[in-house]
């Protein structure tokens, strides 16, 4: 058991490192991914903050949505990360990995961590652009550390979900279709761009079980209002959700490629 765990941690690290090296060899992905959060903050956020349609007590609207936009851009990376499982499956890469003495959970965790690292690069972009727009955020060593933890946990959860979908549908076309269908509802049924309080009751119920809401909530507490207790609770929920989905994902992960 101890051996299995140490193998799982070691191999996850190796696989995540290699995934990250790929990103360093070709960082264009990072640049193209920066566009979306910049548009949401710079255009959507600016426009809505002028209208003052949504009450965000104690915060400007731009402040309010910055953690939401950060969450959204991290979740977008993660929710499509399962595509790499399909790509590895279509080549012989997955087949070769499956024959090595690597625990299946490590194959899953490796991808989760790699998606988390991509998510962190998104966080950096959002922070920098928020500064350009003059949005006041709380930046302390602890808040930054907290943001890193929440981004990694949130990215892990949605990557796990994405890999389950990828393992079931098996083809790029179906996977992309499902990805498109689930991302916007996830985003709208959360507290990312408006407070849960203004939603109809049924949507509030959905938002409360949506892990994305816990990411936003934790990030909002860290980046703006503070509140250690809330952050701890959000992190706990995300950590448990990520762990459970990683086990489920390892179970669904392809066992052989025919």
């Amino acid at each position: 058991m101890l051996h299995y765990l140490s193998q799982t941690f070691q191999k996850s690290y190796v696989l995540a490192e290699m995934e990250t090296r790929k990103l360093l060899h070709d960082p264009t992905e990072l640049i193209s991914r920066a566009v979306q959060p910049i548009l949401w903050l710079g255009i959507f956020g600016e426009a809505l903050s002028k209208v003052r349609a949504i009450a965000t007590p104690g915060l400007t609207y731009l402040q309010f949505i910055t953690p939401g936009i950060l969450t959204q851009s991290v979740v977008f990376v993660a929710i499509f990360y399962g595509l790499y499982v399909i790509m590895d499956r279509d080549t012989g890469v997955l087949q070769k990995l499956l024959v090595t003495p690597t625990p299946r959970l490590a194959l899953v965790w490796g991808k989760m961590i790699a998606a988390g690292i991509r998510g962190l690069s998104q966080a950096l972009i959002v922070f920098l652009f928020a500064m350009v727009l003059g949005i006041r955020l709380r930046i302390t060593p602890w808040s930054v550390l907290g943001v890193i933890v929440i981004v990694m946990l949130g990215a892990s959860f949605f990557t796990g979900l994405s890999m389950i979908v990828a393992s079931i549908v098996k083809t790029r076309e179906r996977f992309m279709g499902i990805g498109q269908v689930i991302t916007l509802p996830l985003f709208f049924a959360s507290n990312a761009i408006y407070p849960i309080a203004i939603m109809p009751a049924w949507l509030q119920a959905v938002a409360r079980v949506n892990p994305l809401s816990y990411m936003v909530d934790g990030l909002r507490a860290l980046m703006l209002s503070g509140g250690v207790a809330r952050v701890g609770f959000d992190m706990g929920v995300l950590a448990i959700a990520a762990l459970l989905i990683s086990m489920l994902s390892a179970w669904f992960y392809p066992k052989v490629v025919m």
Partner: protein, 269 residues
């Protein structure tokens, strides 16, 4: 298991998918240091047999051992005893040559102190020292296959299993890949088990051939023995194949298999 027994032993192996017996009661043995060809058309059950041997598919019935380890009950030991080169391209084009090898070195738990040297040696062995830090997607088909053999050999397995290793390669690259495989056997005594639908390749490189057709092994022996059994002077291995199976070795296979073969050809070529 005694040390003198064959390195691969397969006895009455069956693998069924619903109604289809992809592997239908096959038995054979491979001796240590042998180059053993699994010859048959697409869809004959070659890949399925390999996937059972490498512990990815559980057999429906029958047994198989590699280096004395049972493939069904001792999968971790089997995995460490084998190296595997899939039919599809299994190097990562978006990583460099040394990163691709380093990945395998670490996944196979080669001690940290030895890894760098092992990777450097392997690159030298494959004549790829000049491409250490080049992304593998810039490589030619032959270089890619050599990299894959390198990845599968870093942990010095006793048995190397290759699924259609030279499909899609031009004759020069094919020759070059085989020279490296012969060299590996010379240095480490590696047993080489490979599948192919290429008669000439099976004839030229293997010590022994198993002729596989529709999930069954029609004959096993050296290429010369198989040819001699046809009774015809100057018989080719193709004649022997027809003699034993009653079939021509044509490109059968379904849409997926053919699409796959063409994809590999395009990527390697």
């Amino acid at each position: 298991m005694s040390k003198t027994s064959s390195i691969i032993q397969v006895a009455r192996l069956v693998k069924r998918f619903k109604d289809l017996a992809a592997v239908d009661d096959i038995s054979f043995t491979v001796e240590a240091g042998e180059i053993f060809a699994f010859l048959g058309p697409n869809g004959a059950g070659k890949s399925t047999t390999i996937k059972v041997l490498i512990t990815l598919l559980a057999p429906t019935s029958g047994t198989a051992t590699i280096d004395g380890h049972d493939i069904a009950r001792q999968a971790p030991e089997v995995r460490r005893a084998i190296g595997y080169v899939p039919q599809m391209i299994s190097v990562d084009g978006t990583l460099t040559a040394s990163e691709n090898l380093m990945l395998m070195a670490r996944l196979y738990d080669i001690p940290r102190a030895e890894r760098k040297e092992r990777v450097r040696e392997m690159l030298a062995f494959l004549n790829l020292e000049g491409h250490t830090d080049a992304l593998v997607r810039t490589f030619s088909g032959g270089m890619i296959r050599k990299m894959e053999v390198g990845q599968a050999m870093l942990h010095r397995p006793k048995v190397l299993l290759l699924d259609e290793p030279t499909t899609g390669l031009d004759p020069v690259a094919r020759q070059n890949v085989w020279e490296h495989l012969f060299d590996l056997r010379g240095r480490f005594g590696t047993t080489i088990f490979f599948s192919t639908h290429n008669m000439e390749e099976a004839d030229e490189v293997s010590d022994r051939v198993a002729v596989m057709n529709r999930g069954r092994i029609a004959a096993t022996g050296t290429a010369e023995e198989l040819k001699a059994k046809t009774g015809k002077p100057d018989a080719t291995l193709e004649d022997a194949f027809i003699f034993f199976t009653g079939n021509k070795l044509q490109e059968t296979g379904n849409f997926r298999e053919i699409r796959r073969a063409r994809q590999i050809e395009r990527r390697l070529g």
